[in-house]
Symmetry: D2
Subunit: 293 residues, 4 copies
């Protein structure tokens, strides 16, 4: 199977290497051309523009850093739109908001092309290991055709229906995650103030029904007030806000998520926005020394 | 090693059987004598009163159904207090509030005995498999001496300091659990109202960093509005209330737990108190059919 | 003093009549011309277009029904923009969002005119009685010049600084109001479920430090589950959402407003959006008959 | 009409003076005898013990500082119980919890006496001016008989049914008050962070439908971070907790009150418990200088 690949950042490089290793013929493009070299060593072809990739390949995958990059490769000169046409498929795996996704979708389908949004859950390591979780939405026929590629890139892919559903599903998952992080932080602070060992709480939680990789991985750093940014708090808070807005649209009352969102806002106001979102623990912990009157 | 065992309910029976299987000599007592038979078949001795068990054994474990039963075997006629004395240890593994625990502790130590509260995390299956998690607090010397028994009963035991800390630690864990269940319920309702598949949300959550046994086990039943009571909602809400009260004592502000508690109260007001605590999902879901104006 | 007046709805009619009664010379315009008749009887002149009003008058006040009407009289053919120029002032007293207000402001000042946004607090009766509260923002010099008109229209006017501050101030006030309505509803439900008389609670509240016109006016209807729409719940909820968004922009954590907002959303989901915002009481009251388990 | 009066603190002194001024014959008792002098100057008789007051008077009013004092004058040697009997009425106007009230009620009625709990709303100034609001509950016949005294002490009295309802009604009112104070604080902080004048917000609020004496009186001090204790924050938070507990008993979900309670707890943790309850503003305001990332 032959595929195009736009964007060779940390994620894109790992993903296109996986495709090559599994026998796909891959034509790559990247804004900074030198990043193509290592792919070429593994057998990739290089094209000079996004349009050239589209022209050459029936299927093209994009993995760009943000919405503006995602828009740029499509709409700019020498972009995807210049060559997309009936019979060709474009799969955008970048994490973008649903507005961006809809804009790209309309442009592609307006030219007769097929479109799939396919944001992923998982970062560098899962990308390298082909262990991503893929949340695809858009043209079902295209999804079915590119399953061989998704099988190489991820441990599991889902088809979620119409364009926008991929982004929405990520919001729902991240909302649950954000509320859980608050619940965990409140528990850690309550333990400490009640004279219990936080480390022991971590150990006990990890042995029971609510044990999960996030608590296990972040807990030990949190109780040392360390929050190396895996997922920045300001982005988590933005996702909480967008999930609550999605709830507002559909008249869904979510008081726990709303309380969690306010705690993330408090953390932002404390200047913690660039830390990992587990830094909401610091907002819960204020003041450091309890002085009850 | 020889131990006494008071209380042969579902938990107590499983636990004393485990002790017998691992070579402990066990003297049992139960209010309803007939429940002792199966233990005798496995080699247990029977005593006629709690006092008789204490008299015969250096260490006695109790596993009673509730605080009033826990108090009764200690303070009533022919109870533990009549024979407890210096050199003897009493380990109460029942789940009781910290007041009850303190009352028993004072009585035992007042007679020169050693006391340990040791509530467990885990129910019937882990009890049978010797996979309980044991939260012990009280006399450290006694804890050290009975570790061989704890090793048989549980996969892990913790010594948490002074009497009361076992009960407190359970509250903290259950508070985190209750908030998580609310976060999960809100996510499930948001998914449905936003046109996403709940089953797919379950699948995606289970593949990521927040995957945990509770979501995995209860989720499929929840989205079918089934809530077979493993841990009744009214008990979960009581634990939320007590955890918030513990926070009140120590001036810890916990807005997410407070929001979750109010949702559990709403569920109680809907008559769901005897269902599993996952039935809070029904309170979040009201009204069943969204009718936005 | 001579002023133009655009828009003769319920509010505009009452306001322009007040100006006439206090000796102002007023030139009016309304989309439906017949609504001008009663003003003419009281001495008003009529102009055929918004542009004609601007051409004739140094100061023109607008009181339109919504943002689209407010934009239309400015930007459409024969609109304000065609005649506004240096030396002329335009005062928009319509309730519009800050984006609309900014758009109009830029257009007016781009032509050399002066601009003031001046939304009011108060509806029909205060408008008739000249008892509005005026929240003005924009060009201070213009504000100072039109104070004689504001003195006639309102019991009090405020100058709040740059354009947008009028809209923001309204959001802050409405947010406090929305949270208060929730607090009141919770109190009414708690009273009833605790076996206390709701009417007596109303009487007691009205005699104390938290007595206020809103509780006094809406309370008796609420406890009869009547919610005649003075300010529709869906608009109140929209203002809560916008106030929370303003807080988000400025990293202000507002957990009580957030909880109140979720209750309004619950009320919307129950189909109460077109009722008065006091109908949030119905959402708090669910279920009607408590059935605790 | 002749009445006994127990307790001559700030409130009791003002109240008994009012009774004397309106022609009541009053027999007073106070633990510190010297505080009786000024009452004697106004015509009061003095008795040496609570029992002696009861013996002499058909009706006795008590106004003690706290539950333990209220219990003490009834149950201690030379206390109320020694002389109370059929045909005599005891009216406790102290603010006590419903358990204390029930205990006293049972003791009085057990001796054949009549009992009324009658906590008041209002402090020193209203007590001096005879402008208290009286929340009476218990024996209706006794209430009817002492109305002449209540008419002198308060601007309004209410009969609320069975013993305990007076205390409950106070909790409901204070809960609404506590949530309102939080709503107000959030609004003040939002105004400041959004670049609006807090003083102007106070002025605008005071002109509209949510204007109330509490905002008017406390607002100006709050924005200067002054919180002279009229009603200490730690007591307000205790009342929120008790009101939420009353809601818990009756399965009433009150998410706004719960969020407000958590903010009061945060304020306590900051060492503000002895300030006026308006000091919750300081907890909302954290951090003083917003540093959003």
């Amino acid at each position: 199977m032959e595929v195009g690949f736009l964007g060779l950042g940390i994620m894109g490089k790992a993903m296109s290497l996986n495709l090559l290793r599994h026998g796909f013929k891959v034509t790559v493009w990247n804004r900074t051309v030198s990043r193509c070299d290592v792919l070429v060593e593994h057998g990739a072809s290089v094209a000079e523009t996004p349009a050239a990739v589209i022209k050459k390949c029936k299927y093209t995958i994009a993995m760009l850093s943000d919405p503006s990059a995602a828009l740029s490769v499509v709409f700019d000169k020498d972009g995807v739109l210049e060559e997309i046409c009936s019979g060709k498929g474009y799969i955008d795996m970048s994490t973008v908001d649903s507005d961006t996704s809809s804009k790209i979708s309309e442009a592609i389908t307006g030219k007769g092309g097929y479109f799939l949004e396919a944001p992923v859950s998982g970062s560098k390591k899962p990308a390298e290991d082909g262990q991503l979780v893929i949340l695809a939405a858009g043209e079902k026929a295209l999804y079915d055709e590119v399953i061989p590629a998704f099988d190489v890139l991820g441990k599991k892919s889902f088809f979620l229906g119409k364009v926008g559903n991929g982004a929405k599903m990520k919001l729902v998952v991240n909302m649950i995650m954000g509320s859980m992080m608050n619940a965990f932080s409140e528990g850690l602070v309550l333990a400490e103030r009640s004279g219990l060992s936080q480390q022991t709480l971590l150990d006990i939680v990890d042995l029971g029904g609510i044990a999960n990789p996030m608590f296990k991985q972040k807990g030990p750093a949190m109780i040392q007030s360390k929050f190396p940014p895996a997922f920045p708090l300001k982005h988590q808070q933005k996702d909480m806000r967008l999930a609550l807005a999605l709830g507002d649209e559909n008249a869904v009352s979510m008081p726990v998520a709303a309380a969690a969102n306010e705690a993330f806002k408090k953390a932002r106001s404390l200047g913690l926005g660039d830390n990992d979102f587990s830094a909401v623990y610091e907002a819960v912990k204020i003041p450091d020394c309890s002085a009850d009157a």
